[in-house]
């Protein structure tokens, strides 16, 4: 009895009853079978929740997206799906707005990721100095990470306002004319990138800092004995040691920039958000997907956009892989 109802101290007492009843062989056999089963099955039981939940809400929908993309489904009648074949793909691939959003996503991705990671690298280098109140600095740098996309986008929407915006006022002090940030093709992308850079630079800096602190000191000693300057040490010791981390952040930021949604949606707010500006000048792929599916109510084309995104992601991954190989071989 005591063995079948585990109590708080069962784990200390459990072996004892079995020692007292060595004659009960069947029970022992049962026990050892149970043990073996416990040993074999437990790891799978522990990892099962991840795979079950991912399977149900991640993988299955991902594959099902492909099926929906071949149908006509509307937001108002989710139950009725009508087979249309490649029509949805045809529709989006011949839509200039789709290609605009592809290039917007790509451009915003580049002008937000590249400066962000370079700044993070420099910032990490600064934070790696022996500083007073270093934790304070690290926390301050990370605060934007605590802000949501929505809050950040809304504050920056105020900052970037054409009339009465904080930025234009500041520029006015230096003698520049006010800029209509959200309206311009480049300025709107720049504005969105600023939001991204603001939120994520500190986060990436901390990742770089952790990697920098893991670089063995001997390498720097050896380099300085060889007469390397600090800049040379940074270039020849720090950067190569950080290469895996840098690659990791590039991958993560690239995936992140593929997903930009809240920033463009809320940059001007209202109806303009759903189309990414009056000329779609800052419409990203996510916005395009949202507009088709949730604004216009056509889920078929929205699913087709999702598959186009997957294709782009694979392309980027392939490019990353090729560049990675190229960098590795050329560095040797």
């Amino acid at each position: 009895m005591a063995t079948s109802t585990p109590t708080r101290d069962a784990y200390a007492k459990a072996p004892r009853p079995s020692k007292k009843e060595p004659t009960d062989e069947r029970r022992q056999l049962w026990r050892s079978r149970l043990w073996r089963f416990d040993d074999k099955a437990s790891p799978y039981a522990y990892i099962a929740p991840f795979f079950l939940i991912f399977g149900a809400f991640g993988l299955y929908p991902l594959l099902y997206t492909g099926w929906i993309a071949l149908h006509r489904v509307s937001m108002t009648g989710l139950d009725s799906m009508e087979w249309v074949g490649w029509e949805n793909f045809d529709k989006i691939l011949h839509d200039p707005e789709f290609w605009t959003s592809v290039s917007n996503t790509f451009l915003i991705g580049v002008i937000s990721t590249v400066p962000q990671l370079l700044m993070a690298l420099g910032l990490a280098h600064l934070l790696n100095y022996r500083l007073r109140a270093s934790t304070f600095w690290r926390t301050i740098i990370l605060t934007p990470y605590a802000t949501s996309v929505a809050s950040a986008a809304l504050v920056f929407a105020l900052v970037f306002r054409a009339d009465g915006g904080l930025l234009n006022w500041t520029l006015g002090l230096v003698g520049f004319d006010p800029v209509n940030w959200a309206n311009g093709h480049w300025t709107s992308k720049l504005a969105i990138s600023v939001i991204v850079i603001w939120r994520w630079t500190g986060y990436n800096a901390l990742i770089y800092l952790a990697a920098m602190q893991a670089v063995p000191n001997d390498l720097y000693e050896a380099a300085s004995l060889d007469g390397a300057s600090r800049w040379q040490q940074f270039r020849k010791v720090t950067i190569p040691s950080l290469r895996p981390t840098i690659l990791f952040t590039i991958v993560i930021s690239t995936i992140g920039s593929m997903q930009l949604f809240g920033e463009p949606l809320l940059l001007e707010g209202g109806a303009l958000g759903a189309t990414g500006g009056n000329e779609n000048q800052y419409e990203t792929l996510s916005i395009y997907l949202y507009n088709y599916g949730w604004n216009l109510g056509h889920l078929g084309p929205a699913a087709a956009v999702a598959w186009a995104m997957l294709a782009l992601l694979l392309l980027i991954a392939a490019a990353n892989w090729i560049v990675g190989r190229f960098v590795r071989t050329s560095a040797v």
Partner: protein
Amino acid sequence: MTMTSPTPTAPAKLAPTPKSGGPSRPSRFRMGAGQQLKGGPFAYAALAVVGFGSLLPLYWTLVAASRTQDEVLASTPPFFPGGKLIENIQTAWEQANLGKAIVNSIIVSSSITLATLFFCTLAGYAFAKMRFRGRGWLMTAVIATLTIPPQLSVVPLFMMMSGLGWGGQLESVIFPTLVSAFGVFFMRQYLIEALPYELIEAAKVDGANNFRIVRSVVLPVARPAMMVLGMLTFVQAWNDFFWPYLALNQQNPTLQVALGQLSASYTPDQSIVMAGALISTLPLLVVFVLFGKKIVGGIMSGAVKG
């Protein structure tokens, strides 16, 4: 060149492990000394500029939230908070269903956090310390799922949720995020080094079954990492925008959704919107002030060996 370069590195040689106020982590988190040069005035000045840039938008939120829209959009914007904060918050409260949104955000974030902690600790322990067939490639599969953006599956997810009767309900936001690949990876990285095999063996010799080992050996050891993962998960769940915005509606929003809808209304009053933004950001800022050091340490420890 050769005259100056050895001098700055000298202190680093003398002190191989300078602990200059770094995160007070246990020894397993101790990192190499790196290039521990003393920061000069330039470093402080640069950090101050970046820090100012980091905090300015938050301060500006407060200023705008405590003024009228006309003041905020005036040709010379105000620099200090005004006296309209309470009034604006009240208006935002009425217009955007903020009361319900706060309750919803708390429900969503805490249930996601609790479930993530439980499942990720179990899975992380299995991947870190248990031997089983397929461990390697299953872990690779977990990490690979990190690279799949949610955009790829939202359309069928939305249809599924409506089929399950969860359309517009909090369940539709909670269930897809009950576990996270990052969490599994994070707990695994921690437990690999923090949990000695001897401890598990000792418990086994004492006759503990696997789940008992988890309860009495793994959980106590994992607690510091669970704290950090809990905070990171909470921040993420609280701030999540894309899927909740698609899945929920004005009647039953989370804070971020309410905020998005507030700004999408026809003529949003900017200071009301900022009052909403302030309310949604404030709880996390408090968490940051209280636990900033832990969160910083967590992000840094989760990142090594990536």
